[in-house]
């Protein structure tokens, strides 16, 4: 950083009036969602940062207390637009835990398949985000088109492209249509065949390596202590994955290893997504192979006026961004007494922003944000 070209920054540091506030977002092409940071800048260097959240606040937790148990399923996927299914599944699992019911095997597999498909869409979007934030738009165009292949499959399975509302307490809403699994495997093959292309233009691109290396370093201990989760945690060398540690859906029956990497910087996190992408394709193939015949839904009576006995439970699901947790309190009525959502992005979006950004230049903020896969809707709620 001892470049002469930064002399402006040096002069500016001595002059008080040259610090200025820069609104990075919400209306900024590098920003992931309707969110912003107010950066206190000197030249191109960041002095301090203030998160400017709340543009996406809809009061979900209050609204869920106003609607019935099943009606809430239309609200929960909207908490994370990029990866909606973990919300549905976590909500349903919490309700099922309070009711003390076990869903049929086939439903478990169908849930797993939708979860993993949803993870793929989120990873593809993240790959596109990496490209876009580094000014390299080819991966963005490719990955968005590839993501649509999975969206088509979702549309066929559930009837909706983005919001599926497929999981329901007691199982899933309907069985897969005829020919769905064959087509799904074809799509998986096509996506896997695309991986070398992504490698050569993005993940093995020396420019990308130079830009991302050492950016936003998170140490192993810090990652555990500050509540990071998901790929961010594993990229710092912690072998923690909800799918393995607190198994849910059909994950206990599937064969997979937790992928960890040492490194903890933006590059490692990008490669983490790349590696887990491959694992996800593998998981879908396994699930399609092993899926048993049978019912897809428990008969819980009239779900429209479902009553859940008094109790409480916290259930979590591994989403593409980390741990999504739903803490539900029931008082035995037709509506939840309290639903509290744990979104995975808050530690990264608020805490790590205040730690990382003051050491950075403005050019790196978007790339840093993409690497921590910060998704504003899940902490704005």
């Amino acid at each position: 950083m001892n470049f002469n070209s930064y002399s402006l920054t040096k002069i500016a540091k001595e002059d008080k009036d040259t610090t200025y506030d820069l609104f990075f977002g919400p209306n900024h092409p590098g920003m992931h969602g309707n969110f912003g940071y107010v950066l206190d800048m000197v030249g191109t260097e960041i002095n301090s940062v203030r998160p400017n959240a709340g543009q996406l606040h809809r009061g979900f937790e209050k609204l869920m207390e106003q609607r019935g148990w099943v009606q809430n399923l239309t609200l929960v996927p909207r908490i994370c637009v990029m990866d909606p299914d973990p919300n549905e599944v976590a909500y349903c699992m919490s309700v099922e835990r309070i009711m003390g019911v076990e869903i049929p095997e086939r439903a478990k597999y169908l849930r797993t398949i939708t979860l993993e498909m949803s993870r793929l869409t989120a990873y593809l979007l993240a790959i596109g985000g990496f490209g876009g934030t580094l000014g390299h738009y080819t991966p963005t165009h490719w990955s968005t088109a590839d993501r649509d292949l999975i969206m088509d499959m979702f549309e066929w399975l559930t009837g909706g492209r983005v919001y599926h509302i497929y999981n329901i307490p007691g199982g899933v809403r309907s069985d897969a249509p005829e020919g769905f699994f064959d087509k799904l495997l074809e799509v998986m093959d096509a996506l896997e065949a695309r991986l070398p292309d992504y490698d050569s233009i993005l993940f093995e691109n020396p420019i990308v390596h130079k830009r991302l290396k050492g950016l936003g370093y998170v140490s192993k201990e810090d990652a555990r202590k500050t509540g990071l989760s998901g790929p961010n945690l594993r990229a710092s060398g912690n072998a923690y994955d909800v799918r393995k540690d607190v198994p849910y859906a059909a994950y206990p029956y599937l064969d997979f290893e937790i992928i960890t990497q040492e490194g903890g910087d933006a590059l490692t996190r990008a490669l983490q997504i790349r590696l887990e992408y491959e694992q996800t394709i593998n998981l879908i193939r396994q699930a399609v192979k092993k899926i048993p015949e049978g019912d897809v839904r428990l008969n819980l009576g009239l779900l429209g006026n479902l009553k859940v006995q008094a109790g409480e439970a916290y259930e979590k699901v591994e989403s593409s961004k980390g741990e999504f947790g739903y803490y539900i309190v029931s008082d035995g009525g037709t509506k939840p007494y309290r639903v509290s959502v744990r979104g995975p992005s808050l530690p990264a979006g608020f805490l790590w922003a205040q730690k990382h950004l003051p050491t950075m230049k403005i050019d790196d903020v978007a790339a840093w944000m993409g690497s921590l896969s910060i998704c504003p809707p899940d902490f704005d709620k």
Binding site: Q55, R58, V81, Y163
Partner: protein, 201 residues
């Protein structure tokens, strides 16, 4: 306040060369790249190769000062609304507003939320509204094509309404943004904590 005659007068002023201008205008639209809500999720497929809106000459633009179309992609919270209005007023005329999804019409999913506005049309004028939660990419393209037709025919003139009825819009906006007292009477129940000296024992 709302004078229908002034609109007609302006319409009569449209000459032949306006039609030519309209033709070129509709073939080169810049869409402001501001995702206000979840509907923005369907924009990447529309913007990139799958549905490719550049076939119609529509491209994304990062700054409001150079944009023609403002997309309101879904619900807007009070804070977003403030930013939408600032953005809208920064855009040069002619400008058009597309409202996505049910949330912009009658509150949608969030009709009883304490932080989401119900009807976008009360705060800024809207040209086209698309139902759906969220609308498909095809529906988005349809609405864009419809907007292009409207521009050609000289019908998309909501931005003029904004100027003519500014007092009405401003009053609605102020209701949200100006310093106001509590809305509900229950606010009196609030607990205000006073820090005790030396903290609690």
């Amino acid at each position: 306040m709302f004078n229908i005659n002034s609109l007609e007068q302006q319409d009569n002023q449209d000459k032949l060369w306006d039609k030519v201008i309209n033709y070129f205008r509709k073939r080169s639209l810049w869409m402001l790249h501001y995702c206000t809500g979840c509907g923005a999720m369907e924009l990447p497929p529309v913007m990139t190769s799958r549905w490719d809106m550049e076939r119609f000459g529509i491209g994304p633009m990062a700054t409001p000062r150079q944009a023609d179309i403002l997309l309101i992609t879904g619900y807007s919270s009070v804070r977003t609304m403030k930013r939408i209005i600032r953005t809208y007023e920064q855009m040069p005329e002619p400008k058009w507003v597309l409202a996505f999804g049910s949330c912009t019409v009658n509150g949608g999913m969030y009709w009883d939320s304490y932080n989401v506005i119900n009807n976008l049309g009360e705060y800024i004028p809207v040209d086209i509204t698309i139902a759906g939660c969220m609308p498909r990419p095809e529906a988005i393209l349809d609405s864009m094509l419809k907007l292009m037709d409207m521009i050609q025919a000289g019908e998309a003139k909501a931005f003029r309404k904004y100027k003519e009825n500014y007092a009405y819009y401003k009053a609605n906006q102020d209701r949200l943004f100006m310093e106001r007292g509590p809305v509900l009477e229950s606010a009196a129940l609030r607990y205000v904590h006073e820090e005790t000296e030396g903290g609690e024992a």
